[in-house]
Amino acid sequence: MTNSRNRTLILFALMGLLLLLEGTVHWQVHPLNADASGYTILSGSWNVVLEIVLMCLLSAIMALGVNLQWGYAGLFSTGIVGFVALGGLAGVLVSLPPVTAVWNAAGVGRLVVALLTGLGVVGLAVFAYGHLKGRARTWGVTAILVGGFFLYRAIFDPAVAYIEANDPAAAGNIGGLGLPALVAWPAGALMAAAAAWAIGKTALGLRSDYLAIATLGIGEIIVAVMKNEDWLDRGVKNATQIPRPWPVPTEVSLQESQRFLDFCANWGLNPVTASTIAVQLLYALLFTAVLLLILWACELALNSPWGRMMRAIRDNETASGAMGKDVTKRHLQVFILGAAICGLAGAMLVTRDGQLVPSSYTPLRFTFTIWLMVIVGGSGNNWGSVLGAFLIWYLWNKVFDWGSAAMWSATQYMDPASGLKSALTGSAEQMRTIVMGVILLVVLRFAPKGLLPEK
């Protein structure tokens, strides 16, 4: 017990040291025949550190969600990117002001009718499936679904055309509810949970490989919808100007506030730099508070009878089933909880970025990296997931810089015009992918329990 606690403390302290170095030491290399500004090894900038830490905190929240699914319950889902993206969508739909020009019967009204019709068709199909038998069931359900699809499109398409025709350069979408950004956070969790319920109802209970393939598809589809449905979130035109959560002010308003200027003058700070850092710090505090809350709840759950039951199910489904535990139901429950946490983090992410960029939701970035964090940190250990998130996100950032520096240094005596040189020096992005893959394989092979093993 004390041993593992010491290990946790030491590893977190080391992680802190890495970030401290990043903030205090400025180290650049200047290879021959390269950019005069040099290549950064350590930035020595607190702004960079805060930037990294903010994403570490959000990644840690996502990792806690994945740890619930994988570490507690052994569910292998590859659709995390979908839940994170749904959380982001909630940021748009809840906190952007409504586009009032289309909130009328021809626009949003018709849209709501269309969506309700769609739901009704699915409900009717499910009902028919339950109440018909044999051939009648097959044909009945098919007829309902096919007919319902055309009915839905007939109502839906004109509404979408109407909404997207409204000022496509600036709007073309329905906007949101205009509620505070903090409301978007739980809304993101709820949307992800609702999607997870629908997915879990169909895909859970399949064998592990199938669940992985099915959730991979779900993730792709959710992101595809967000990229292509302009009426929903402006698609690839990106929804911008998502408001910040209370109590984070804008940099400009800080620079205009007399109290802040006095404070800067007292401490001899540059108001522009100080305002950026103050905003980042406020975000960091807010995110840390949420992370600690979730961490506390996860720890509580893990050490409760519920947590023991989950682990029992994970370790032996048959035996737990025989003891009267409803395996499928518990899986569904934990799947929804994990997805909700990822959705929450997704909503927090867009309220920080101030925009929703659907094309930024790639499986590499939001599914596999989060997995890596959980596995490296230690599956089943919440502190491990947090540590893994910090370490992997730090590396994700730094490997890019280090890769550039290494490649420029390695090729400094090569002919500047050679194709090989430009291929090598241009491959920093690829280095990142390769390093992440190597870390995953090495940890999985030599330390499958991760940095902080489950107790």
Binding site: F76, L206, I218, I221, A224, W371, A423, I434
Partner: protein
């Protein structure tokens, strides 16, 4: 005449592309299903295996072209295929030695091996993009059309010109040959039979003196060959882009699962089923309909059921329906 025009349009925009795409998916699904049958895990690195193999083929193609070697009317890439397959097989065997063999030894749970294959996927994707870049590459050379649309129009006097591109014809012919060779190998040779035996019942196969490591090695070589051929044909047909191959993972797995994982015949049927549904549902039918339907019945829209961006949701929907109602696939596959 209108009926003939409609038929040609249908062939042009649905049947021919779907057949070529289906053949590519079928080859990929065969690779997935073989690895699943023998090694018992879903190989997430398959998409990037295809990308990597095709990248090697492209490098050899460029080299051949620079030396002035060509394959007449056929693309030079066909000549480069064996080199790509050899390179990919070596990489696959190396990967098996360094990564997968350990998990076989400790009898790890399949899901752990799937996660390991994700690591392999990362590395392979990175290396592929490093050596060939992320840009779009056209590497089809030789004759462009087997049936030229303008020639067809003047010969037949129809409005629609039937176009059969060389790459499409090659895709179907190559896929046919490969599948024939694979089935001959699996059903007629001793090694092929030992592979099927190992896939059906591992313990019994071991008792009969089948060397598992040899079976595994041969499986990797065949799967690599299939993946490289599928990847190259896809690249020839649609142009090569390293990022696109990851997205092929879903339709390929869907094809393999729909046909019944571990069942080669099912993988082929699954590939064509997915391809035809995908293209049938995302094709704008207006053109075909304009020839058959009378003016008064023509609808206003494009008659497109789903926009092309959602083509992956088709394979997904088929996958889910099959898994829910017939979990072992249309042809009987391995256990659920």
């Amino acid at each position: 005449m209108d009926f003939l025009n409609a038929l040609v349009a249908l062939l042009n925009f649905v049947v021919i592309p779907a057949t070529a795409y289906g053949a590519q998916l079928a080859l990929g699904a065969l690779a997935a299903t073989l690895v699943y049958g023998v090694l018992r895990f879903s190989n997430f690195a398959l998409g990037d295996t295809m990308a990597f193999g095709a990248a090697v083929v492209i490098l050899f193609t460029w080299w051949f072209q620079s030396m002035g070697i060509s394959f007449g009317p056929l693309p030079t890439a066909i000549l480069a295929l064996p080199f790509g397959i050899a390179a990919m097989s070596a990489v696959a065997l190396l990967t098996d030695r360094t990564v997968y063999r350990y998990y076989r030894r400790v009898k790890a749970k399949p899901v752990i091996v799937v996660i390991a294959s994700m690591g392999v996927m990362f590395i392979m994707a990175g290396i592929t993009r490093m050596i060939i870049g992320v840009q779009e590459i056209q590497f089809a050379d030789g004759q462009k059309f087997l049936i030229d649309p303008t020639w067809f129009r003047t010969e037949t006097g129809l409005n629609e010109g039937l176009a059969l591109r060389m790459t499409q014809a090659i895709t179907v012919v190559t896929a046919g040959l490969v599948v024939w060779a694979l089935f001959w190998f699996l059903n007629r040779t001793r090694t092929g039979k030992s592979m099927r035996a190992y896939s059906d019942n591992e313990d019994l196969a071991l008792l009969s003196g089948i060397n598992p490591e040899r079976v595994v090695a041969i499986t990797w070589i065949i799967a690599s060959g299939l993946a490289v051929i599928a990847g190259t044909l896809y690249g020839l047909d649609k142009s090569y882009k390293a990022f696109n191959y990851f997205a092929l993972l879903l339709p390929i797995f869907a094809a393999a699962v729909v046909g019944g994982l571990g069942n080669p015949l099912g993988a082929i049927a699954g590939g064509f089923l997915i391809a035809y549904s995908e293209i049938g549902l995302t094709y704008a039918w207006k053109k075909v309909a304009s020839y058959i339907l009378p003016e008064s019945l023509m609808p206003d829209g494009l008659m497109q059921l789903l926009s092309t961006e959602y083509k992956f949701s088709v394979s997904f929907a088929i996958l889910i329906i099959v898994l829910l109602f017939k979990p072992t696939g249309i042809f009987k596959g391995k256990a659920v």
